[in-house]
Symmetry: C2
Subunit: 338 residues, 2 copies
């Protein structure tokens, strides 16, 4: 049982509870595939399509589930969160549904689509400078001033349990199709989705090897797993995967992912853009850079992925500006022609 | 019962039979929605997402169902079809799955993505000039030379029955959600998908008014319905909706759609591009111009659509070249800013 959500890791029962809490809030996103992609990769590839989730990413799962555990007396003071955009939308959407105020601390360079969407859910957006200010400090200041509950993006047991429901649905749908995954690829920033996947696979799909996918230069999970301790990214590195720029694995998520993750795979911006293009061409899905990282890793490093049977790829979000998406299509289409 | 598929209209039982034939071939594409779109339009909008269908459009349904009715002795001679691209892919994919040869007669100006994909399914593609040659004549010449079965794109009862399964699935999924549609918007070229929708609604959802959506200048269904007889489009008109350029409603489809279609709605290229952009932003779906026509009609002429309750929009395909898609995003994003 979770007493302190910052220190107590979630159990599988917490994932089942989260699923109940999310029943009429999160969509059960479909598990999709493509003949062309199977042929290209020489194995059946299944995609959990969280880009089709309400708010455009899986984050609404954790945000809503976390909000269910705010004591009723504290609810009217609202919630606060810091996020580059997807967690922001998840929290803002959950708060709107609950009828409580939300303040979101967002980097000034976050994609416009994400900022506008967050404001569209009625949240107050406070911008900060990623290079000189600490989002945690700003978030905690707002929290202490307003009494709002801080909804952490990953170091929270109820958030992790919520994110885990995405993997649970994928495993259940695969069971119904008679499909067992040899491997699953999952992106990570702080590691909430990844830790959730680890908990679900350990309980329901032990034969599935879990790989974490990250942008090159932001491969803090990969390096932390190799070294056995939490390692930070060097500051200042840029990637188009704006959703995956947390400085290091979480304190709550890392002990979980360390136990269960088989290996890490890092991909370049070009790998990501090519995966976005292939998702466009073969899946007809809009996937944002951070959401395409796992697919990019499967395509660019297929030999490092466990087994040769079915593989599950988590497409975690689809919130991307039109100009950036068009750039990815141009680069992907050009790469395909050569 | 269908004796001659060119003259006998399909009954609802033929749709149920088609569903059985398609069980492990066509995907059951999801019915999706968006909070933002509901808010914009002031009513619940549900999307049947045939852009996520195998081959990227609904056309594989009709093609596969038609192929099931080829006498076994004739199967080895293969199939021939004329198509601007989506029917081509549907027929080529069905033929590949059956292990028989396919020849596709395709206009020289068809999108490269569609031609390449058709060849990717192993079909032989024969190009023709849309302005000076008759695709029907070329198709029939190949048919008489090779003995291949001509798979008509819409004037075939088994093709119509196959296309109808898309609407049947949408109605069934809505039933499960407790949703009843006041209206359905469906694109039309020759009218196979539309006639299939009409047959299904008449049997399973009588309260749903059916509207046909078409590109301006290619509104042959609208004008044929108004005049009560089949009217041709003026030749030479261009639209970005390359999938919807059949010259007139079909001889088999029109008597069905005439009986059931409430009204026609014609949209401009800009309406279509804006609908493609909104599908990108709110649904995270890649929808081709022809596939976005019904959504464009709902957005640009919402007052002409029946009722104020739930509405079903058929997104019929997603096979679009990257450059054309990026153009639509740029135009849609610019329109949204103004």
């Amino acid at each position: 049982m979770i007493v302190d959500p910052q220190t107590d890791p979630p159990a599988f029962q917490d994932v089942l509870d989260a699923r109940e809490a999310l029943r009429h809030v999160a969509y059960r996103t479909p598990l999709l595939r493509s003949d062309d992609i199977d042929r290209e990769l020489g194995r059946p590839v299944w995609f959990k399509t969280e880009c089709l989730q309400r708010t455009g990413s899986f984050k609404v799962r954790g945000a809503w589930n976390r909000c269910q555990h705010i004591p009723p007396a504290e609810l009217p003071r609202g919630v606060v969160a810091y996020s580059s955009g997807n967690h922001a939308q998840g929290v803002a959407s959950a708060a709107q549904r609950l009828g409580i105020p939300a303040t979101i601390v967002m980097p000034a360079d976050a994609p416009a689509a994400k900022r506008i969407a967050t404001e569209g859910y009625g949240a107050l957006v406070v911008l900060y400078d990623r290079s000189s200010e600490s989002r945690e400090a700003i978030g905690e200041e707002i929290q202490s001033r307003t009494g709002a509950t801080l909804i952490r993006p990953f170091d929270d047991a109820w958030v992790i349990a919520g994110q885990a429901t995405a993997t649970l649905e994928a495993i259940e749908d695969a069971d119904e199709l008679g499909v067992q995954f040899d491997a699953m690829l999952c992106p990570a920033s702080g590691g909430g989705l990844l830790a959730g996947a680890a908990i679900v696979l350990a309980e329901r799909s032990k034969q599935t090897a879990l790989h974490v996918a990250e942008p090159q230069g932001h491969d803090d999970h990969l390096r932390s797993l190799e070294q056995g301790v939490v390692v930070e990214n060097a500051p200042g590195f840029r990637s188009i995967a704006d959703a995956l720029l947390a400085p290091q694995p979480g304190n709550l998520t890392f002990p979980i992912t360390r136990r269960h993750v088989r290996s890490g795979l890092a991909v370049s911006d070009t790998d990501i853009q090519r995966a976005m293009y292939t998702s466009f061409r073969c899946l007809k899905l809009v996937v944002e850079p951070g959401g395409a990282v796992a697919f990019a890793a499967l395509r660019s490093q297929s030999a490092s992925v466990a087994g040769d049977g079915p593989v599950l790829v988590m497409l975690s979000g689809g919130n991307v500006d039109a100009a950036l998406f068009s750039d990815a299509l141009a680069i992907g289409a050009a790469a395909e022609r050569t």
